[in-house]
């Protein structure tokens, strides 16, 4: 982080971190409930092994202690932006496949998506406080250009693979909520060298 904090900035950061930790805790509880309902409604075994889901950043990180505060925030923000897109896709697939038939699961998915979006915005606030500002979000076009460069669009997933991917996304999100709370606690520590750039 840039230079020692002024008292007001440190206070503001601690406040944002505290609120972020509460948000992460609430999100985690809701994601765990959603995971259970999702597995049951999709006829899946909640403990089924799922290959790493493409586009889902792994919550597990090596040398967690050595990360700077900015690194933590940037990685968190990248993860929740990815989850926001993945959950939006899951919601769209839910509407396409089930329509009104499972409105409760649809509402629960939409609620978690809202929390993820709010948490991403919260992280952007924290990064703005670092007077560094959050990295710009990759525009949609960039991704399409990448796809064209990589050749024909991938084969659409079968429904069972879609279900498994959803399970993988929610599992990883629950892990991230735990990690985010730890990262924010680390950031909230008052020591001057705490995770500054």
């Amino acid at each position: 982080m840039a230079g020692a904090d002024s008292p007001s900035a440190a206070l503001q950061r601690r406040d944002l971190c505290a609120r972020g930790i509460r948000l992460a805790g609430k999100m985690r509880a809701d994601v765990v409930d959603l995971l259970e309902a999702y597995a049951e409604r999709q006829g899946l075994d909640a403990s089924a092994s799922v290959a790493a889901v493409e586009g889902v950043p792994a919550a597990a990180v090596e040398r967690w202690d050595e990360q700077t505060g900015t690194q933590r925030l940037v990685e968190n923000l990248a993860a929740y932006r990815a989850f926001r897109a993945l959950l939006a896709q899951m919601l769209e697939e839910h509407r396409e496949q089930l329509g009104e038939a499972d409105a409760a699961l649809g509402r629960a998915l939409a609620a978690v998506l809202l929390q993820v979006s709010a948490f991403a915005y919260h992280l952007e606030e924290l990064l703005r406080l670092e007077s560094r500002g959050p990295p710009a979000e990759e525009e949609e076009e960039d991704e399409e250009e990448e796809e064209e460069a990589d050749g024909p669009p991938p084969q659409p997933l079968g429904l069972f693979e879609q279900k498994l991917r959803g399970l993988g996304v929610l599992r990883e999100l629950a892990q991230w909520a735990v990690r985010s709370a730890r990262d924010l606690r680390q950031l909230a520590k008052p020591s001057p060298g705490s995770g500054s750039a």
Binding site: G43, E96, Q97, E100
Partner: protein, 490 residues
């Protein structure tokens, strides 16, 4: 036969114009010559095969083959012989073999080469479907057609009980033509070369559970297969939560057979293939019902701008989202078609259709379909006899004198085509409710008025109004809100 003489003479014609004769010559006399004589002509030949035109005139006389039999073909100066000319059609040509994996159907197209033959001959086509590299015969059918002196493309569809992805499928065809004017020997053509639709188990990176995300009717029997990569081992295959005995189809393909499938949950029934490395492959089966024929189809107009049709849907299909049952309303006179937005979760079914200018009679067909089936209901209706006005609004009461009042209200809609009948309910604390009927010309988005007399002075009254069509009563509107008014003192 005697040493060195040509043996096993066979003459075959595929089209009654040309014939091909072929014979054997013993190896010790291979370089000699054969003299071949047919009708008045003589050929001296080195090869053992000869193509020549058939005598057309004699072909058209019933007795040609008999004549051939009596007038032997002179095979060579030293040997007389008799040959029975054989007719076999040319080997059929498969034009295309197209798989539809979603319905496990093979579509075969071939040309009947009918231009070669006279008009109206019966042709029989034998088609074989085979599986696996060992070409096990799965089915054989004989298909009949009439030749029409033109080359017609014929087609035949076959639905497999096994998903086409599960293993390779081969098809071949041969034909028999009943050439009535040729009484000689007739036989089937040769089999065509096989056409193949490769299974996923022949694709090095092919894997998955099939059929992929399909929809079937309740009570269906379904075969699923799990195709896996070389070296992977399946530990089990489950349908829903129940493991099923596996049938090995090939080294990379195992199947299970589910009988009499019951209705699936909203998100479908998972069919899962577990491997020894813990990974899963799967597909989803949706089991539901074809749509019931809609009952009590009824259409009415609230305002001569829109026609509202309602119906009873019958048994739920059990299919949701993009597989749900879809409704469309088609009107024959105008040719207009409207697709209906229906929420499959609530039982009420409503569809709106626009009132067409200068059209009173509507000939509706309500079309209903889902991936399992389709049906329809129809209704012929004169909308001037199906008027169900909206609730009267903005009822106001004003007094003329102590015993009469003036009521005014508004109905949303244009009823210029009909007369309206409105009913005013009059109630006051100390007498029974009275109903007063009044009819008037319908208007367009207009207000309506009525005068009530013989009221009691200085009395508090409650008024409300409802309306319907005067000439062809169909249904009352709902009652308006109550409006209170106290008559003035006498």
């Amino acid at each position: 036969g005697s040493l060195g003489h040509p043996q096993n003479l066979k003459c075959v014609t595929h089209n009654l114009h040309k014939m091909v004769c072929a014979w054997d010559v013993s190896s010790r006399r291979r370089h000699g010559q054969t003299d071949f004589c047919y009708t008045t002509k003589l050929w001296s030949l080195k090869q053992k095969r000869m193509k020549l035109s058939l005598v057309q005139t004699s072909l058209r006389e019933r007795g040609f083959v008999f004549q051939l039999a009596k007038h032997p073909l002179i095979i060579s100066q030293y040997r007389r012989g008799i040959v029975f000319l054989m007719f076999t059609p040319a080997t059929p040509r498969i034009l295309s073999l197209t798989p539809d994996f979603s319905t496990s159907t093979l579509s075969l197209k071939w040309s009947d080469s009918g231009s070669v033959f006279p008009y109206g001959l019966d042709a029989f086509w034998q088609i074989q479907v085979l599986r696996k590299e060992t070409m096990e015969k799965v089915t054989e059918v004989t298909y009949h057609s009439k030749l029409t002196h033109e080359d017609i493309v014929l087609s035949w569809n076959w639905t497999s009980d096994l998903p086409l992805e599960c293993m390779s499928h081969y098809v071949k065809i041969r034909c028999y033509i009943n050439v009535t004017q040729f009484v000689g020997l007739k036989d089937w053509s040769d089999w065509s070369p096989v056409e193949v639709i490769h299974g996923k188990d022949t694709d090095p990176s092919g894997s998955g559970v099939f059929p992929l995300d399909t929809v079937v009717a309740v009570g269906s029997d379904v075969t699923f297969c799990c195709v896996h990569e070389e070296g992977q081992n399946i530990t089990n295959m489950t349908y829903g939560s129940k493991p099923y005995p596996m049938i090995q189809l090939s080294s990379r393909s195992n199947a299970i057979r589910v009988l009499n499938a019951s209705a699936s949950d909203t998100s479908g029934t998972n069919v899962v293939c577990r491997f020894n490395n813990g990974m899963l492959e799967g597909t989803v089966l949706f089991v539901g019902y074809a749509p019931d024929t809609p009952q009590n189809l009824s259409c009415e107009t609230p305002n001569f701008r829109i026609i509202k049709c309602t119906w009873k849907p019958g048994r739920p299909s059990g299919l949701y989202g993009k597989r749900r049952t879809k409704y469309s309303l088609f009107e024959r006179t105008s040719g207009k078609n409207v697709s209906c937005e229906v929420n499959e979760m609530n039982r009420e079914r409503v569809c709106g259709f626009p009132v067409m200018p200068d059209q009173k009679i509507y000939d509706f067909i309500l079309g209903v379909s889902n991936p399992i089936g389709q049906t329809e209901s129809s209704l012929l209706v004169d909308i001037t006899q199906r008027v169900h006005p909206k609730t009267p609004e903005k009822l106001t009461v004003s007094g003329n004198n102590s015993t009469s009042v003036h009521l005014r209200w508004f109905i949303n809609g244009s009823f210029a085509e009909i007369r309206l009948l409105c009913q005013i309910e009059i109630s006051s604390g100390h007498s029974e409710e009275k109903l007063h009927n009044v009819s008037m010309r319908g208007g367009k988005l207009s207000a309506y008025t009525a005068q009530l007399n013989a009221l009691h002075p200085y009395t508090k009254y409650q008024f409300r109004v409802r309306c319907s069509a005067a000439d062809h009563f169909w249904r009352w509107s709902d009652w308006s809100r109550i409006e209170e008014y106290t008559t003035s003192e006498a």
